[in-house]
């Protein structure tokens, strides 16, 4: 198997089955060697805050679920915006949600912090396409 594109990808999702699913897909598709998993936005935020002084140790890609207890994806994005520039520039956030709610999707499409919107069930083709050129991908979403 070829070397994964990223050593670690962050997964934020409250559903254990989805975490398993995404971890496995990332491995099969050769995107990540391993995953760093959080069961809600608050836990992920705490991790990021703890690395304010060594942002280069933070994984570059995060797949963020939207509907989660404690701190959902939208709340997370609000908090993420407040973080120092080093972290914000470092982490590319892709939302990964089963939501089909037009209002939710509309809000995500207009959020500049969101580099791409992925739908569940995650397709490894989609994932690769999104991760190769996140900026180009975002253009096509708009």
């Amino acid at each position: 198997m070829k070397t994964p594109a990223y050593p670690v990808v962050m997964l934020v999702d409250d559903n254990g089955i989805d975490l398993y699913l995404h971890r496995r897909l990332l491995q099969i598709a050769g995107i990540a060697e391993r995953t760093l998993e959080f069961s809600n936005g608050a836990a992920a935020l705490e991790f990021l805050k703890n690395h304010e002084n060594n942002a280069q140790e933070i994984p570059e890609v995060m797949l963020l679920d939207i509907q989660m207890p404690l701190m959902n994806g939208f709340d997370f994005l609000v908090h993420f915006e407040q973080l120092p520039a080093e972290i914000k520039n470092r982490v590319h956030i892709f939302t990964l949600s089963s939501t089909n709610n037009q209002e939710d999707l509309w809000k995500l499409r207009r959020n500049p912090l969101v580099k791409g919107i992925l739908r569940k069930p995650l397709d490894d083709g989609d994932l690769l396409q999104a991760l190769i050129k996140p900026e180009a991908r975002r253009e096509s979403e708009l």
Binding site: D18, I28, Q67, S98, N101, Q102, K120, L122, E141, L142
Partner: protein, 361 residues
């Protein structure tokens, strides 16, 4: 019928008038009297009487002034004025502004005043009940809204987990029998998902307000198409989008998306098994409207089915998945935004939908 429960407040600076009011009505209503506006406000604060009657001529504050003030804090109360026709201009003005429900000529007759009180109370009750109903409806609506939102997520999320697992399993398992089962689970879950989405669309279409914004048709069509790519399986459908934009376009993105996504989903659903699917979307935009043509090379529609196509729960095909809601929702959504749709089809050759949507730019 006893009307003892009707609370009536009577304000007059002359004690004699208060006594005669009390004598006349205390057996019929729950009577409260006040000799000064201050006392009257106190009573209003404490018991909120639905019917408030005031004499016009009082030393420091006129009846009109008093009732105008009451309206500010207790707009739901029914306010009656007793007057000897003096200060007519003030009174007419107060009635016209809705501050006073009715005026009673002085000296008042018991019958006239009784009729005034009871009419006032009846109207008060009607308004009150209406308000209670409106409040209940708002609550139900809010709950329904939350229910739909959570149904659209809470039911969808585990469904998508199942779909994800089945697709992962198809990658990791080689047993051909198992793969066949996974395929069947996949298509069943897909059906369930379409049904769920139809219900949510139908509901959202019926209640959401129009949100007018700029629409980029090319990106919108491609995004909608993208969301169906998974359902196509191994085939690679071709999508061609041509947009001729002669003016900026504004419209209700939510409903336009419902229309496009149901039509594209139909094209995918009713494709020919032995031929690659091709969908062509042409959009012509001018200042007046957007005309959209969506054409496919699918199985087409029998002529006798064409006029039933937009009916609720109509299904022309029993062996293809469907709820019979899709095109009904399309028609409803278009109706909301003043759009129109026609369909042309040669059975066996493909289908073409032509839509027009008014430009709100």
């Amino acid at each position: 019928v006893s009307k003892k429960h009707i609370k009536v407040l009577f304000l007059d600076d002359e004690e004699g008038n208060l006594n005669s009011f009390r004598a006349a009505f205390r057996r019929d209503y729950d009577v409260y009297v006040a000799q000064t506006p201050e006392k009257a406000f106190e009573i209003i604060q404490a018991i909120q009487p639905p019917v408030i009657i005031s004499d016009q001529r009082m030393p420091r504050m006129s009846g009109v002034e008093f009732l105008n003030t009451v309206r500010q804090t207790h707009p739901e109360s029914m306010r009656l004025l007793i007057t000897a026709y003096a200060d007519l201009k003030d009174i007419i003005d107060a009635i016209n502004r809705g501050n006073i429900y009715r005026f009673i000529a002085k000296p008042w007759s018991e019958d006239e005043l009784r009729m005034g009180i009871e009419n006032a109370y009846e109207l008060y009750l009607t308004r009150h009940n209406l308000q209670v109903k409106v409040h209940e409806l708002e609550k139900t609506n809010g709950e329904l809204n939350k229910f739909i939102y959570s149904a659209s997520h809470d039911l969808r999320a585990p469904l998508m987990s199942v779909l994800g697992l089945v697709r992962l399993a198809r990658k990791e398992v080689v047993d051909s029998k198992a793969l066949e089962f996974f395929g069947m689970i996949d298509s069943s879950v897909n059906k369930l998902e379409v049904f769920l989405q139809n219900i949510v669309d139908y509901y959202q279409n019926s209640r959401n307000l129009e949100q007018i914004q700029d629409i980029g048709f090319k990106a919108l069509v491609e995004d909608v198409f993208d969301s169906f790519r998974h359902t196509v399986g191994l085939q690679t459908p071709q999508l061609e989008v041509v947009v001729r934009q002669n003016a900026p376009f504004k419209g209700d993105e939510f409903r336009i998306r419902i229309v496009l996504s149901n039509l594209i989903s139909n094209a995918i659903k009713f494709r020919k098994e032995d031929q690659d699917l091709k969908i062509t979307v042409e959009v012509d935009i001018d200042e007046r409207e957007a005309r959209i043509g969506i054409e496919d090379n699918g199985i087409g529609i029998l002529e006798e089915h064409l006029n039933q196509l937009f009916q609720m729960f109509f299904r022309a095909q029993s062996e293809r998945p469907g709820t019979g809601l899709g095109l009904y929702i399309v028609k409803e959504a278009l109706q909301r935004i003043g759009g129109e749709i026609v369909v042309k089809s040669d059975h066996g050759q493909g289908t073409r939908f032509e839509i027009s949507i008014p430009n709100q730019a």
